[in-house]
Subunit: 366 residues, 2 copies
């Protein structure tokens, strides 16, 4: 029996997708074998792959002058791979709004030292808000500006690039870690130089990394990196410089089709708004029994951390919610408390079940 | 309906494993969600992971002073990652016996130039035999000696380290690319410093890379590489420095259990021998209708390339075999002709079906 799974990633996959995978696993459409057993250079898989790319291009309205790469190593490898490819001997600005954007800075500095500049941080607020534009120290000649559009651990999200203030500069490409909010609502890809995301939240199973990059940023990589890590090499070889994670890419494609069928990103965005609104309303209306202390203009619609008034109730909340079929609500150790990750694949009914439990729990323990 | 799938990788997966995956996909043993939807840091997945590692340790009899890492990026990323980790400012010797070991040299030289030395090659034989030990130019102070234990494209395999002659030196760790023959028969892990393999032939789905490394070789990596690519960092973090490809690792574990159930590597080795013997006997007994020109002491038991006497028959052979339910027999473009990859998951019955087809085809076209 399937429970409501609020895991932060790897995260719940749409049941319709899982059912299709089960159906096609041993024999894909009469091919005589499953997708994971096929040559990645054969006609069938390359056809599947082309469809995956086309569907994503349609879903996100990705212009043709942006390359779509399906890589490996997760967003974490991108923390290194991005400067390897586009730092181009210059310097880059980074905004820190939580644990993930902080990791990006550290991974970049490990390789490039001071060329990776922290141009702003909201650490003083304990990462409960975005960076105050007035405090930013921006380099107008930066090779790129990096930010995280949704902090999976802290629960801070950027909804409008205006929230970044002067960090958005005409000639400085924006690079965004969208691991945990990609595909959750429409965005204008043209606003970005590079978008990247680990698959395991809103795309598919772990082991696939999506990079969407404006083609004029390609070809600047140092020769001192593995060819496999050079975006330009991967683009020339349609992300098949070596054997790609074919099964994960195929599953990502099924998720893209699942999204397209229900009306694409505008449709899922409405559901995501309704889910987040219901959950935050429940928290805010609990008279302090539940608390989410993120500034209201940047409360994540994907990851909702909250604490209980009485910390001693935490283990009871977790035990009872788990028994009620509400999985993986434990908060990340960095922030404690609870966290409900409510990605695309979590239907409104799941959030309604969570809210009903939360209200009941409050009645019994409040 | 499942056909006999002779793909070189991604390759056929045991049907019993696929059936278990289907069963467990939406709900793993009552967990309320599937393995690919679970936190990699939760109790259930870490339990699965520990079992995967324990089963592999048992299967290959891997001593405790060897680390087992499950990484990403394929064997190709290892071509770079190995020198990044263990070249340690020195020089390394490489033996070239085909397309894959050649790629390893090139990827290493891209980063480290002449420090990556080709200490021997069988190119003059068109890679139809192993390197003649008399022609090797070995460095007794090499940081390691690299070779490929089975050339997937050329069909050349090392069965006994004695075949490497003087390249096996007491103080030079052996590093072996076993992507396409790992787990096909027992080996003595103690003979090696490092063993690596992409999963997509004998282990599981593409997107998982196995590295088995003697722990005294860890900790020599340059700081100028991403932490994610430092074996020592991965070892400290049980290969979970970031989100690993959980589903592929879980499936690899099911393959390990499938192997253990039938008696482990000694048992599968007997089947592999019988399969290869039957196929080579058919080729050699065809009076020149089929040819495999690899030296008999190093004919691969996993990848059997062969050509037809009359090249004009190639497309007919491929079309008819495909119709007969024998998939993916086309040879790699580098060598042409046909190739039958007969990994662990290909049962003797599959090879018997292939041989029956080959004999029939010869009767009709010979």
């Amino acid at each position: 029996m399937r429970h409501w799974n609020f895991a932060a990633g790897p995260a719940t996959i749409p049941l319709a997708v899982l059912e299709q995978v089960r159906e096609e696993l041993p024999d894909w459409h009469g091919a005589g074998c499953g997708v994971m057993e096929m040559s990645h250079r054969g006609k069938i898989y390359t056809g599947i792959y082309e469809q995956v790319v086309a569907d994503l291009r349609k879903l996100m309205d990705i212009p043709e002058d942006y390359a779509i790469l399906f890589l490996q190593g997760g967003a974490t490898l991108q923390f290194s791979q991005i400067p390897m490819n586009i730092l181009d001997g210059g310097s880059a600005d980074y905004l820190t709004t939580g644990a993930w954007s902080e990791k990006a800075v550290k991974a970049g500095q490990r390789l490039y030292g001071d060329a990776i500049r922290e141009a702003g941080t909201s650490a003083a607020s304990a990462f409960t808000r975005l960076v105050d534009p007035a405090t930013m120290t921006l380099n107008p000649k930066a090779k790129y500006l990096h930010f995280c559009s949704n902090e999976t651990i802290g629960g801070v999200e950027v909804f409008d690039l205006k929230q970044l203030g002067g960090a958005v500069q005409k000639d400085v490409p924006l690079v965004a870690d969208m691991s945990s909010n990609i595909l959750s609502r429409p965005i204008n890809v043209r606003d970005y130089g590079l978008i990247y995301a680990g698959a395991q939240k809103n795309i598919g199973p772990a082991g696939v990394t999506l990079v969407i990059v404006r083609k004029d940023l390609l070809g600047k990589a140092s020769k001192a990196i593995p060819a496999l890590m050079d975006y330009a090499e991967q683009e020339k070889n349609t992300s098949m410089l070596n054997t790609p994670p074919t099964f994960g890419i195929y599953m990502s494609g099924l998720v893209f089709q699942w999204l397209l069928k229900q009306g694409g990103l505008p449709a899922i965005a409405k559901i995501n708004e309704a889910k987040a609104e219901l959950l935050y309303k429940t928290i805010d209306g609990s008279g302090g029994f539940y608390t989410n202390n993120i500034a209201t203009d940047c409360r994540s619609q994907m990851n909702v951390p909250f604490t209980l008034k009485d910390k001693a109730l935490d283990p009871i909340f977790l035990e009872e919610s788990d028994k009620a079929g509400l999985l993986a609500l434990k908060g990340h150790k960095l922030v404690g408390g609870m966290r409900a990750s409510i990605y695309n694949a979590m239907p409104l009914a799941g959030v309604q079940a969570l809210v009903a439990f939360m209200n009941d729990f409050m009645r019994r323990h409040g």
